[in-house]
Subunit: 347 residues, 2 copies
DNA sequence: TTGAAAGCGCTAACAC
DNA sequence: GTGTTAGCGCTTTCAA
């Protein structure tokens, strides 16, 4: 059965197709009488414009492509939420593709988005295949690389230094007097790797070895994985004084496993996570972490895209450091007897 | 600057446009010599096909629309993962739109997807505006409603009885001998409402009151919210014998708040969650829950869509109950002294 | 304010 | 195996 087209609406309304098109896109450019006729014809026929035709004819797609590595991690949900908030209101459609942490899939995603003639691409990270980089650079649309800072941005770059953040977390633990500090990670993607680099540097600066305490495994970060990894480490007879987890989920898992094994946090072991997820403040004990700005990154990326799309001049290279901050809580505060403290209102 | 088109590739390769089209879509339908010429021309020019043109010309979009209420909840990440796994391999693009739990936004999402001429729509839930239902029914593409079971499915319906699940969870608590059972929820969406209905019925059947123990608030489920809600309930002087949380995140938050307030789980209070999220088995204490089949639901929905798309006959109404299961763990097992039990390998 | 003509970039159908 | 022709459904000129 044939789909309803603009022509169908036009003949029912007794006007020309172009009038229908105008009435729908810019109602005020058409007389009241015609607009009403058109609208009722649209209703009656259940007409829905074909965006493929409209994109082809107008060469504007009003579509922005976003590439994230995964949807399992809530940080990307927060980031996407911000992107949507800005872009959808501005009349753009957002196409989200996930690369599953693979540069090959990322390249395919880029091709798919370019095939859709997206008007901008917002991509997670700064590491891409050579071909991906070339495609992005030649696409002649605004490109935003996020979550990391690049030495050589393609266009816009809004992120933070993962390495400095890893360094800061480790320095915090060192400052507490710990010398045996383990690094726990799931999927060792580029950002986790940079955090590790920061950790490694800090350990070296302190004259300490780091490598043998690493427990990583190529699986996405989760509470269950943190619990597993900590358990295995402990089973091997390793019980470090402190652990830096690449992710709060891992840290929570490690804390729960500690509890099962009657290892007290922070008395027997200190734990710091990464990202300062929503649950971290209310965990028991509350979890120290590095707070990152996912929402703000998404918001700014979207706003920069809108600006670049407005300006007809090609925007040059621009880099914005969103920073991060250390949040110290109970899990790395040896002196706090958190379970015995007064809790207001706990009557 | 002009975009590279099929014609550009064709003239560079010295063949007709249709040959390029064929070489790209079905390489084996073209002689080796021409295919090579075409491919190198594509490379040289950096040609990327315009999907809008291709969709318009072929009237096939190879696109499936998916509507979910949120990306914040990991159950939808799992579901989407399964959908992608099946559909992308089968050569389809998946467009994900989120309705933010609003039926109005859902209606807009449906219109947007129909405008894209998606070949099927997979939508979360069974409650839609009248107009949405009409649009879906008249779309003449396979429609799958998921996560709930409808009395009147539009087309395909793959879900579970949220009400029976809520009933089962409550019966479990009643079976443990509890009479004061609270119900904790964040966003009271339709599915949470149905779980509440099941809880309410079970309480009534047992001759118990339910309503005054409800602590709900229109905010998405999270560990932090669970912690807050439990805290407020406790501050009001309510300490039920057991709590049924609409979501494992809330349950975990409640458990952590219990710990802070030195209320023992399960000794002083029993807690059961919903969905059996990944962390629930490794929580300390481990969390009882209702296991739901998000991944399988997504996989089956995708497979059914592919089948319906293959069959040229319009598929009729079909309903599949994915079921659920009760998972009893420490958080509702009063007799288990979980902290003192032997843990294998905890040397 | 409205309409006619042309074309966006690709593919279906049919020829050779 | 390869090419020709026509047209998908809309919007952009340009003209009235």
């Amino acid at each position: 059965m044939r789909r309803i087209t603009l022509d169908d609406v036009a003949s029912l309304a007794g006007v020309s197709p172009i009038t229908v098109s105008r009435a729908l896109r810019n109602p005020r450019s058409v007389s009241d009488a015609l607009r009403l006729r058109v609208n009722s014809a649209v209703e009656e026929l259940g007409y829905v414009p074909n965006v493929a035709a409209s994109r082809l004819a107008s060469s504007r797609t009003h579509t922005i492509g976003v590439i994230v590595p995964t949807l399992y991690n809530v940080i990307f949900a927060e980031y996407l939420f911000a992107l949507h908030e800005v872009l959808v209101v501005a009349g753009f459609q957002v196409i989200v593709v996930n690369s599953r942490y693979s540069e090959i899939e990322e390249e395919n995603a880029i091709k798919a988005l370019l095939g859709q003639r997206v008007e901008a691409i917002i991509i997670t990270g700064i590491h891409h295949t050579a071909r991906s980089r070339q495609l992005l650079a030649q696409a002649h649309v605004p490109i935003v690389q996020t979550f990391e800072l690049s030495d050589d941005p393609i266009n816009l770059n809004i992120g933070m230094s993962q390495e400095r953040a890893g360094h800061t977390a480790t320095r915090h633990l060192l400052g507490r007097g710990f010398r045996q500090i383990a690094f726990l990670t799931g999927n060792l993607d580029h950002r986790a790797q940079s955090r590790f680099d920061g950790y490694h540097t800090a350990m070296q600066e302190a004259g300490l070895k780091s490598l043998e305490m690493i427990a990583h495994r190529p699986r996405h970060s989760s509470v269950a994985l943190g619990s597993e990894l900590f358990g295995e480490m402990h089973d091997r007879g390793d019980l470090p004084e402190a652990i830096f987890c690449t992710d709060d989920n891992l840290a929570l898992g490690a804390m729960q496993e500690c509890r099962k094994r009657r290892i007290r946090v922070p008395d027997d072991i200190s734990i710091i996570g990464f990202h300062d997820l929503e649950f971290s403040a209310c965990a028991a004990p509350s979890l120290s972490s590095i707070a990152t700005r996912r929402y703000e990154t998404g918001k700014l990326a979207a706003e920069k895209v809108l600006l670049a799309l407005d300006a007809f001049t090609k925007t040059g290279i621009e880099q914005i450091d969103m920073g991060f901050s250390l949040v110290v809580r109970e899990s790395t505060s040896r002196d706090v007897d958190f379970l015995n403290r007064d809790i207001p209102g706990s009557g």
